[in-house]
Symmetry: C3
Subunit: 180 residues, 3 copies
């Protein structure tokens, strides 16, 4: 349950951040859709690979795919005047995507009984995957390497989960909220 909620939030957040980047690059509707979907599900695919989630689960998420397409199209058709607003929100959605996926990676490594170091690395690599896919596709240098703050967030998520401070669902949501 917590997994699904984190998955939906993270996927949406990465979709929006991909769409914003695509619009900054002046892509057409289809380009914005592709980059949005690639960021959302590319990040999820990297996460699936890293923590051994079977890929078929990706294609089962019919409703999530539909809602993601709708949201990206909505962002594309937002009136001009709003764009300065959404641009400022890029960091916010990026942070939401990163922290939700980082928590999933950390939880996976934690439940498999690995060390704190491994849990932190799982959090960082799972969390940053989506943003890296987006930046590479848009021909940019990965944000996670330019701004330390992103990696720092993922490391904190790893430490909190790895040390067992955070383990109940509501604590995870709170952690997620604080990280953002």
């Amino acid at each position: 349950m917590t997994w699904d909620v984190l998955n939906v939030i993270g996927t949406m957040a990465f979709a929006i951040s991909g769409a914003i980047i695509a619009m900054e690059e002046d892509y057409d509707l289809l380009g914005v859709l592709i980059l949005g979907l690639a960021t959302a599900f590319g990040g999820g695919i990297i996460r699936n690979i890293l923590i051994d989630v079977p890929m078929s689960t990706l294609w089962e998420q019919d409703i999530l795919i539909k809602v993601t397409v709708l949201i990206i199209a909505l962002i594309f058709f937002i009136p001009e005047g709003w764009i300065h607003f959404t641009k400022g929100w890029l960091n916010f959605f990026d942070a939401v995507g990163l922290s939700t996926f980082a928590i999933q990676g950390a939880l996976y490594a934690y439940s498999a009984g690995h060390s704190l170091t491994a849990i932190i690395m799982a959090a960082v690599m799972t969390g940053t995957g989506g943003g890296i896919v987006r930046d590479l596709l848009a021909g940019r240098k990965p944000t996670v390497l330019r701004y330390d703050i992103y990696a720092a967030w993922a490391i904190i998520a790893g430490i909190f989960i790895g040390t067992g401070i955070t383990s109940k669902p509501w604590e995870l949501y709170l952690l997620c909220g604080i990280l953002i």
Copy 2:
């Protein structure tokens, strides 16, 4: 059977498109070989990951690998006068690779009983993987994001297969031919 034919055609087409791009970048024989093979099998690897084909099948394709190497070397040694000819054909081979792999992705999602949305997304992501690998390795922005027509082809492949309009082998080949 249909799968194997599509696999061979798609792999070859991506190999040729990778080799052409590598020659545009003035690489040596080995560079052209590597980029050609990386595009051909990199696209196949992404397809395998996305639709759960075991990776060992990749290394079993001895004859396909050999023929691919030969074809790339042949393209490298084509006389100067022909090059303007092959350059114009880049889009053709790119389209062949995209549509064959897109059909494989769509068929996989269709046979697993997923929704039309999921089938279309499987077609797009499986089809565009090869071109994205090629463009990233060559340091270019992915073509699929710059030219909507590629994504549109993959979407059409997804719709035709997803709605059950196309299901018999000869219909799939025809679809493949029309898309190109």
Copy 3:
């Protein structure tokens, strides 16, 4: 045993080469750590995907992760005067990482009974993965495409292992040493 030794050497070598590139790009400590770890374990992840090693083995390598983090931090804090020294060593560590991973890829394909062509391709793709991840993340064109020597090394590793010339552990280490 030979596998583990090659894995440790290759991971360390890629970590160092990633850290050197990150310092050339003037990243902070965290950026250097991320790029070093991404190169080291990203190359390992690509190898795992290509030769069907389960990903959970990645997170079990607690000591290797810790030592890698320490070594990258050490490189970051090396006094200014040493940097021209380490820069010259980039090619060395790159070659170490490439040849150890290439040998692993070739051994895998060899033990699965594939043809020489498949073994050579397994060597090249497994060996070059780490460097490609590093170069893409740093926004550079992959070194393996610019300098033929890298691919040539991996091909030689594939030929030696594929033809059965090299099969005992000490022969593999020697091969590894000669390639470097």
